[in-house]
């Protein structure tokens, strides 16, 4: 069976440490899927395996039926998977518009077209008014949205979001949740997010994967997963039940 994204028995070791241990899951097109788990559970490593930063030591990753494990990051992006960085990495010396334009140049080779497309993406993410500012001068919430805008400007089929809500106030979180919901509804974008902010996960995700010590300990619909005793013990804590 060929799913939109298929991750099968993926393992990644760093010297003695097994950061990702035999993880399997799959994504349907148009879904919003979340990966949660305590710090050090291997979420970002799993992301980096999908984004081409690392090659897995074992297992397979297929995107739209094509194997992608071990491809370089730029090839992954060209294939239609865009990612954000947990610690945002805007191009600090360039303007907000130029940041997004560089992303848009992947699918729009003509700079004028790319600028047009970048402008539309910035409007979606409420950054249009700040397009002339240097990325270095933005506040953290704006930088997080710029990180998303730049990734979206590459017009991906699958968007990987690495803790874009971390460190944001609840109003900012709700704003990003609303933007993502609208995007998924209108453009059929598939989203895979790593997130600690359960408020956002519960509002967005159709399915959740829980990682602990590199291994998948639960997978399923949000309401079921948050009642899973193992998940409660490892991650959410008993108080989450209330």
């Amino acid at each position: 069976m060929s799913r939109f994204l298929e991750v099968a028995h993926v393992t990644k070791r760093f010297r003695g440490l097994t950061a990702v241990d035999d993880v399997s899951f799959g994504l349907e097109k148009g879904a919003i899927y979340a990966i949660i788990g305590p710090n050090g559970a291997g979420k970002t490593t799993l992301f980096n395996l999908l984004a081409g930063v690392y090659a897995p030591d074992a297992g397979h990753i297929a995107f739209e039926g094509t194997p992608i494990a071990g491809l370089a990051p730029e090839k992954i992006c060209q294939a239609g998977i865009a990612r954000t960085f947990q610690i945002v990495r805007p191009f600090p010396g360039l303007s907000v518009l130029e940041n997004a334009k560089i992303g848009a140049l992947l699918r729009h080779r003509d700079p004028a077209d790319a600028e047009q497309a970048a402008g539309e993406t910035l409007r979606r993410l409420d950054l249009w008014d700040k397009r002339r500012q240097l990325a270095a001068s933005l506040t953290l919430p704006d930088r997080k949205r710029l990180e998303m805008a730049r990734a979206l400007a590459t017009e991906p089929k699958l968007l990987l979001l690495d803790e874009v809500m971390a460190g944001l106030r609840p109003t900012e979180t709700d704003r990003i949740v609303a933007i993502l919901k609208a995007l998924a509804a209108e453009s059929g974008l598939t989203v895979l997010l790593i997130e600690h902010v359960m408020r956002a996960v519960m509002a967005l995700a159709e399915r959740i994967l829980v990682l602990h010590h590199g291994a998948a300990i639960a997978e399923g619909e949000p309401t079921a997963v948050v009642r899973d005793p193992l998940v409660l013990e490892c991650y959410l804590g008993a108080e989450a039940l209330e």
């Binding site: 984004a51 370089a72 990051p73 730029e74 992006c77 060209q78 865009a82 990612r83 960085f85 990495r89 805007p90 191009f91 600090p92 010396g93 360039l94 130029e98 334009k101 560089i102 992303g103 140049l105 992947l106 080779r109 003509d110 700079p111 790319a114 730049r150 990734a151 590459t154």
Partner: protein
């Protein structure tokens, strides 16, 4: 010209005035002034070539004298040994310089030699090429290669044989051509990708940018441009010495104008050359007059100028001046 569409009205007038006054300068200027202006244009041109690598793509080269020297030696040798004209020689020089640039780029970018280590690699290539030319009989070894100046060729401008006026307009055309080329590159897809690589390589890769190819394009274009400057140098001065043209101090001299003028800007290399070259030449003239001329005076002066710039305007004179003149795009 769409390349200059981004300029506001005031900046366009200033640019037109600047070009017109330089085009008319030979009417009023004497031989000495012309020779200084030729030097200014030459350094502005080379600064523009180097700026593509460092200012745009963020790759520090401290061995650009290599490309200048190869462009000079290849064209000069083809002319003196086989009578091949400088235009064909220029393309041959470009090909050789680009081959060296490709080798350096491939070694550096393929094996992740970055920053100062990449700079060391560029120095090493320039140095061993200098040593090779020091021992190469065919090009006159350390004793130099001389282009014959014959009366019957004195007006063969198409072979770059002629007086100061010919070289004045040639150097002016080089400087303005480089400005146009860099403006076009900066506005194109590749220009944006260079800036992305300069700012953050990992983020650039995540946006689908083939960082290796983008850096290779920078080194190829930059080395080709620098070699054309070398061909100009050979036919202007008519003599070449490996110890002079490949020397590391030449590479350093080349990078001062863009640093002082403003790294990564289009006008910076030109402005920097207009500031540094007249001061340097004036200093030499003044010290000679006073009987104080000592080797290294210019180097000390350039060192002081660089410190002053880093102190007063760390991002260069042009970004500061642009604000003062009201040329910022709104």
């Amino acid at each position: 010209m769409s390349v200059f569409a981004a300029l506001n009205g005031r900046a366009r007038w200033l640019l037109a005035l600047f070009v017109a006054s330089l085009a008319l300068a030979p009417v009023a200027a004497d031989r000495y002034i012309l020779s200084v202006l030729i030097l200014i244009f030459y350094f502005a041109y080379l600064g523009q070539a180097w700026n593509i690598m460092m200012g745009f793509a963020g790759q520090l080269s401290l061995g650009h004298s290599l490309y200048v020297g190869l462009g000079a030696y290849v064209a000069a040798a083809l002319w003196t040994k086989f009578g091949v004209g400088p235009w064909a020689g220029m393309f041959a020089g470009m090909a050789v310089a680009m081959a060296f640039g490709a080798a350096i780029g491939w070694l550096g970018f393929r094996f992740g030699i970055a920053g100062v280590y990449f700079a060391l690699l560029t120095i090493a290539f320039a140095e061993f090429t200098r040593i090779a030319f020091d021992h190469m009989d065919w090009t006159g070894r350390a004793g130099g290669l001389f282009l014959p100046v014959r009366a019957e060729q004195a007006h063969q401008w198409w072979n770059l044989r002629g007086g100061p006026l010919l070289f004045y307009y040639l150097a002016l055309a080089l400087m303005l051509g480089a400005l146009w080329l860099c403006a076009a590159l900066r506005a194109a897809r590749i220009g944006h990708y260079w800036l992305a690589v300069r700012e953050d390589e990992a983020a650039a890769r995540a946006l689908g940018i083939d960082v290796f190819a983008v850096k290779m394009k920078a080194v190829l274009i930059s080395s080709a441009m620098a070699s054309v400057g070398g061909t100009f140098y050979a036919f202007y001065y008519n003599n070449l010495f490996p110890a002079q043209i490949f020397d590391m101090s030449r590479s350093i001299e080349m990078i001062l104008a863009p640093i002082v003028g403003g790294l990564g800007t289009l006008i910076g290399p030109i402005l920097g050359a207009f500031i540094l070259t007249p001061l340097g030449e004036g200093l030499i003239a003044a010290t000679e007059e006073a009987g104080l001329s000592a080797p290294g005076t210019k180097a000390v002066f350039y060192g002081l100028a660089l410190m002053a710039i880093v102190w007063v305007a760390p991002s260069g004179v042009w970004p500061w001046l642009r604000r003062k003149l009201g040329l910022e795009t709104p």
